[in-house]
């Protein structure tokens, strides 16, 4: 596997430096792996995201106005250590507390938990909302065992808008919890990505097989099936989401995200979107807005995921706010 790197073992710190360069002054590196907006309003409730790198543009590419205030970046596919999270926490905290928003993985949960304890010891108020949108990873009765996958993109965007308006940390927690609880995703893997340091693929899959319910760290799919058409795949994934416990039906409005895991082309995402839209229209479900592209990736992994966020009026108002970041930018409505 050819990759454009200097030292494969230094890929993570180098990409974080490149990211700070990308932001061209708007973002500061506040510690190894810790980045924060240079300009955070004085009385703002802060939003901190984070996780392993190698999934660009998340998480560190989600910093910006109307998005997250800072990010804690780990090594490739590895949650950031507590001290990195703490550095980022100190930088974004403006006295009104910090919301930790990240994907529900054992490594992230443990490292953020330790960081939250360290922050609390310094008098920084911290609350946490875990993202667990992947319906394939556990039954609805065990949400706290579900993984966070591409649904984190609409959730972080909504949280970013919420953080700009929330009067305190508690209000932010409840707004973001609402966004999280209304988001469901499921994905499919076609081919593995590779780990930069070893060059090895993250899993194996036959030439004619796909993994339904894959994870964004290259975890194998929950069900291995034969390759199928775009339309059949779209139906299968939409069915999996709609069969979950969140009622989405006629008259409801959703945000739709078609996320490429890396090397799956926008062409394929658009062809899947076509079918997803047809299914939703058929069911009388309105599409409020659409996101599409490689937003939560796993190196050059092939595959995609579909996410729906069901919007109530509060979430619509949050969605309509402008935002800007490497990963997602939107004009106001």
């Amino acid at each position: 596997m050819k990759k454009i790197l200097n030292d494969p073992n230094q890929a993570a710190p180098e990409l974080v430096d490149g990211l700070v360069d990308y932001y061209n002054g708007a973002v500061d590196k506040v510690g190894p792996g810790a980045i924060a907006l240079a300009d955070i309003a004085d009385d703002k409730v802060a939003l901190l995201v984070g996780g392993g790198t190698g999934h660009e543009p998340i998480y560190h590419g989600l910093i910006g106005p109307g998005m997250a205030d800072g990010a804690a970046c780990g090594d490739i596919f590895a949650a950031p250590p507590p001290n990195v999270i703490l550095d980022a926490t100190r930088a974004v905290n403006k006295g009104n507390g910090v919301l930790y928003l990240y994907g529900n993985y054992a490594g992230d949960v443990m490292n953020f938990k330790i960081a939250a304890q360290l922050a609390a010891a310094e008098g920084i108020k911290v609350e946490t909302v875990l993202i667990w949108d992947d319906v394939a990873s556990a039954p609805p009765s065990e949400k706290e065992n579900r993984r966070g996958i591409a649904g984190l993109i609409p959730i972080v965007k909504l949280a970013g808008a919420a953080a700009d308006s929330a009067k305190d940390l508690d209000e932010l927690v409840s707004l973001v919890t609402n966004a999280r609880d209304n988001t469901r995703s499921v994905g499919v893997a076609l081919a593995p990505g590779s780990i930069p340091a070893t060059g090895k693929p993250t899993f194996e899959l036959d030439d004619d097989s796909i993994g339904v319910g894959m994870g964004i760290h290259g975890e194998q799919g929950v069900g291995i099936e034969k390759m199928m058409t775009a339309d059949a795949l779209a139906e299968k994934l939409v069915d999996l989401i709609l069969a979950d416990d969140l009622p989405i039906g006629s008259g409801d409005e959703v945000l739709v995200l078609i996320n490429s895991l890396g090397s799956t082309t926008m062409m394929e995402c658009l062809i899947v979107l076509k079918k997803v839209k047809a299914i939703l229209v058929d069911k009388g479900i309105g599409i409020y807005d659409i996101m599409l592209g490689p937003l939560v990736t796993c190196q050059e992994m092939a595959g995609l995921s579909i996410s729906f966020t069901k919007l109530d009026d509060t979430l619509k108002t949050l969605w309509d706010k402008p935002c800007s970041s490497l990963g997602y930018t939107k004009l106001g409505k």
Binding site: G74, I76, A78, A106, A138, A197
Partner: protein, 212 residues
Amino acid sequence: MDNQALSPVEIRDMLIAVSDKIIESEALLSEADRKLGDGDHGLGMQRGFTAAKSQLEALEPKTAGDVLTTIGMALMASMGGASGAVMGMLFQSGGMALANAASLDASGLSQFLDAAREGVCNLGGAKPGDKTMVDALAGAQESGQAAIDGSTSEAFAAVAAGATDGMEKTKAMIATMGRAKTLGEKSIGHPDPGAVSVSIIFQTMSDYVNQR
């Protein structure tokens, strides 16, 4: 058999040996994680124990706790990932129990393991049977308690055997924690990578103690 307790300097040298062994096991550990997770466990361990080794080499330890919390902090700060938290916590909680211990013998080893197990289980919520490194750690801890009255070197050998035994048991388990949990039955047959690490760690300690 040698019943002498380990001095802080010996503990340090033992952990440098552990570091070398883990660093050289990178490929094996990553491969184990490719079966059940995202294939990076060896990389994280290598990163952590490389950082730990250079801190240990610079350390002039006064107590057993000094050495053990130093390696714990180094792992915690440099690794990240699930294993950074649990391996860091293992040595940190364990080391705190020996904060003032001038040396490490069978009883000290058992105290270390009791505190290590408690710290790790509190942090991550895993129990034995969940197919994590806790299975190996619990195996080590239980063997350590049973060996409390024996010689230092016997205790290290027993703990290594207990860790390896706990690791072996993970092969038959279905993962319920961490990234492998979505694999369900497909996780059967493969040992948990973190448990493999724990087994290597205690085996290397035992080799050091029994060969000095």
